[in-house]
Symmetry: C2
Subunit: 541 residues, 2 copies
């Protein structure tokens, strides 16, 4: 093979930090601290502290390839860990603070985390399982209140800022090459054990540049980026890396995830790109009704994790003058897969139809390939109606799970990742998730999309949240059941009203057999409806 | 080393075409044919014809690694070759149609081109050297007029469309991996032989994604892209790949490079991104004064190749409502290095100061590292005033020239490419070219920037073009001499007026010792001032 004569320049995460520091040393990282005050420092400070932190890691005995856990909200120290752990050649393993104790200790032990960095506000959650994670050699606490903190984690505990103060600021990156592992993130897994995706420097670098494309998220130096999506969810969708890559200011909410606190930060810090799950934006929308604020500084409200109801997209655009960018991805995809931005041929359509487009999950960004297949694995057409399982591949897609050899059918023989999503794709490449393969309602041999019913129900003015599950049925095998949380501001809706509301919008055999009211829908560690719990609870009714 | 568990997805050019065809089969490639009519076809047509062309190449005996020359204007066949030659595992070698016969035959023989694809409108230029390029096995002509064409290239000549019509549309890419060579481009070289940069699939793929970043050129599906920069100059700055990568329409001027023809295409095709050298835009500006057209559809007039005078940037923005994006790159850099877009802290400055910023070559895009060094190779500060030689590195920068082992000092021992440009860089990362190392005027041990004097002179209302060269001087070693082309519309300026015009703007010892009027300044094959010729002509005066 005749090879090109271009530099063998390795695509590694330290390059992104070097670039950000060299070009934009004056740009800022702002964190809302636990006490509500705003902490600010510059990229230059970030850079220096990352180098110190690398020395701290070496001082704790962290070797290249070791896994280093984080257990924290979105804040500056967590960003420091995002760069320092890979910079020291190790693997930053973001632990989901919302997991149940069993899952958390499983993950820590499965990853063999050597050190865990803990946001002191979350200490009790780790203390509760301290005796089950004996392999962890050190716990390092940050956000420790003045006067210190009492902890049961005896002997193995350090104070982050004390270690940092003692560390040297000179450090040479220990990155060995672009294929080196740099990050580890477990899916919460509603069935079976959580499974880990092990990112490489190359995959995360390419994800960063890929997501910075104008046709993707397209962050620039002119942006103020607020990842509301937690840093323990799929690397906060890569936004901390994207921001540093182009010199955008970073705004981090810390533990202040309440709707009113988020809206206030957006308004006062002039956030231009905010990213989070629909639940967050749904909450903020309802809060803004009571406590109006001007959040029109946002040029892209990025929504992912699950589908944003079309009604909410419309409300944000029409009432709040905020451009919504629907996105879709998965932990196994680093995570960005698609974004839903209008194409040229949508531009002169009526606004109503534009919102229809924006309610889809969108087109794959350059770097992500998609295909849909049926149950036999045969490829299906992109016609906007044919439902099939979505499979993807690309340079930032996982090819296997960490330490899970065999017994896993997530990857096809020809090298694609099975997403587990059932989708349609239009002729012009817009993907819409109709369901998870496991959440589909299979009624009389036909498929009913639980997600579509949920979205329709959540557009009802008296409905705050709605989940639809399959319940066993003697004749039809399965039938849909709707579980509904009413809005606080109104009378709860009656089942007959909800049925009448749906009737003109779906085939009659799609109509749920029952509508049950509840105070709240159980959620998984990632904030999604926990349908496993719902099925257990309602299958017997 | 612990490796990540991500897909080993190769970054190759066929992926870009597959993506463009899969997502945007209905988008268009439009070419202005030699007869002035507009030829249009879709990405789907492009895709199919590329596959056919791969079979044509195999039919002509082209093997992976072979070099295949192109000798053509910007048109659809040239775009087909951009994808088909690499898709067949071979190397597309773009020949500069403006080179002198000696250089052209040298390059063809040095590259050992097996086949050359020729725009029939340019046939005489190749015929003139047919007996000196005996190694070329086949010549394939396109844009052949009805009724055929007579040629002296006996025996080895084929008709493009005849071969295409006979070829199969089924083809499996023969790309072996991302490091495989895919493109070859020689610098015109004002001294010594031309030198070739051999691009790899990986470097061109990364250049494509890098340039699609919002902070770079940032092309999207909403754009209509017109590369006026010839496809034989550094892959038309990568724009054909960028357009297909995101689904932008492509508009190609063919041989119609006259200012009025370009302005007409921009207006009628609603071009949003047009890219070319300052000479082109200077010509178009003056033409638009006589023949007004609305070209405000352009959202980014990308200018590179040499510096655009600040006065011209201002004129485009103020009078024509066109946003100018200054860029800088080199053949050895695939070519994109920097772009000059306003940063946040420029936003509230007066417009006058914003044009100062836009007249700089700009900040390095993510993926490109820069440093400046003095004659001893010591790194210099980014303070906006210290001049030094610019060195760069990155995944799309050359590490060597094709078949030029040893005797070349273009690459440093620690792996950087010496650009040969003398520049300053501001604290916030904006690079300004002050000169080429070889064009600097070294007067009494101090450096005088020929480029800065030229830009100042070209801002004079009676000056169309100005070149400044060093002439030997007994006392000061060298002194600057200005060669000036007056505008047609006015009286030629007198030397004393030009001197008085410069006096308040530069140090007195920078003032050229003489100002000579001429009808035109000799240009190199890439359209730049040919200072070698000027020095030969005026050194004796």
């Amino acid at each position: 093979m005749l090879s090109g004569l271009m530099m063998n320049y390795q695509l590694t995460i330290d390059r992104i930090l070097e670039h950000g520091n060299r070009l934009y040393p004056y740009k800022q990282v702002k964190t809302k601290l636990p006490d509500g005050t705003l902490h600010k420092y510059s990229y230059r400070d970030l850079f220096r502290r990352v180098k110190r932190l690398c020395n701290v890691l070496e001082g704790l005995g962290v070797q290249p390839g070791d896994r280093v856990g984080t257990f924290a909200w979105n804040n500056s120290q967590h960003v420091e860990l995002y760069f320092a752990v890979p910079g020291a050649g190790a693997v930053v393993h973001t632990l989901n603070i919302r997991l149940f104790t069993d899952q958390l200790s499983y993950i820590i032990n499965h990853a063999e985390d050597k050190v865990i960095f803990i946001d002191a506000t979350l200490l009790p959650l780790i203390e509760g399982l301290a005796d089950r994670i004996g392999g962890v050699e050190h716990f390092v606490l940050f956000n420790v209140p003045h006067g210190g903190i009492e902890t049961k984690l005896l002997g193995r505990v350090h104070d982050y800022e004390t270690l940092m103060a003692a560390a040297d600021e000179e450090y040479t990156w220990r990155v060995e090459g672009e294929n080196q592992a740099m990050g580890l993130c477990y899916t919460s897994g509603t069935t079976g054990h959580p499974k880990g995706s092990l990112y490489s420097h190359r995959s995360m670098y390419l994800h960063t540049v890929g997501s910075c494309q104008a046709a993707a998220v397209g962050v620039t130096e002119n942006d103020v980026v607020m990842p509301v999506v937690p840093q323990f969810h799929a690397m906060a969708w890569g936004l901390p890396y994207a921001a540093v890559n182009v010199g955008a200011d970073l705004v981090l909410p810390g533990p202040h995830m309440q709707p009113s606190a988020l809206a206030e930060m957006i308004e006062t810090e002039r956030v231009t790109v905010a990213a989070g799950v629909p639940t967050i934006w749904n909450g903020m929308y309802h809060d803004l009704k009571q406590n109006p604020r001007d959040i029109s500084c946002i040029r892209a409200l990025v929504v992912g994790g699950s589908a944003m109801p079309r009604s909410l997209i419309e409300a944000y655009e029409k009432e709040l003058h905020v451009n919504v960018v629907h996105a879709w991805g998965m932990t196994e995809m680093s995570p960005l897969g698609t974004v839903s931005k209008l194409l040229t041929h949508h531009m002169d359509r009526p606004q109503d139809q534009q919102w229809d487009v924006k309610a889809r999950q969108g087109y794959p960004i350059s770097g992500v390939e998609m295909r849909i297949v049926n149950e036999e694995g045969r490829e299906l057409p992109w016609d906007g109606t044919t439902m099939g399982e979505l499979q993807v591949r690309g340079p930032w897609v996982a090819r296997a799970y960490y330490r899970l050899d065999g017994g896993d059918d997530s990857f096809t023989e020809d090298g694609w990742f099975r997403t587990g999503d059932v989708v349609t794709i239009t002729e012009d490449g817009f993907m819409t998730i109709t369901d998870r393969t496991k959440d589909l309602v299979k009624s009389g041999g036909e498929w009913i999309s639980s997600v579509e019913l949920e979205n329709l129900l959540m557009a009802h003015p008296q409905v705050l949240e709605a989940a639809v599950i399959a319940v066993p049925h003697e004749r039809w095998q399965e039938r849909p059941l709707a579980v509904v949380v009413p809005t606080l501001a109104s009378e709860p809706p009656r089942a007959v009203e909800l049925r009448r509301f749906l009737e003109p919008q779906v085939a009659s055999w799609w109509l749920p057999d029952d509508f049950l009211l509840t105070d709240q829908i159980p959620k998984t560690g990632t904030g999604k409806f926990d349908k496993k719990v719902l099925r257990e609870r309602y299958a017997r009714t």
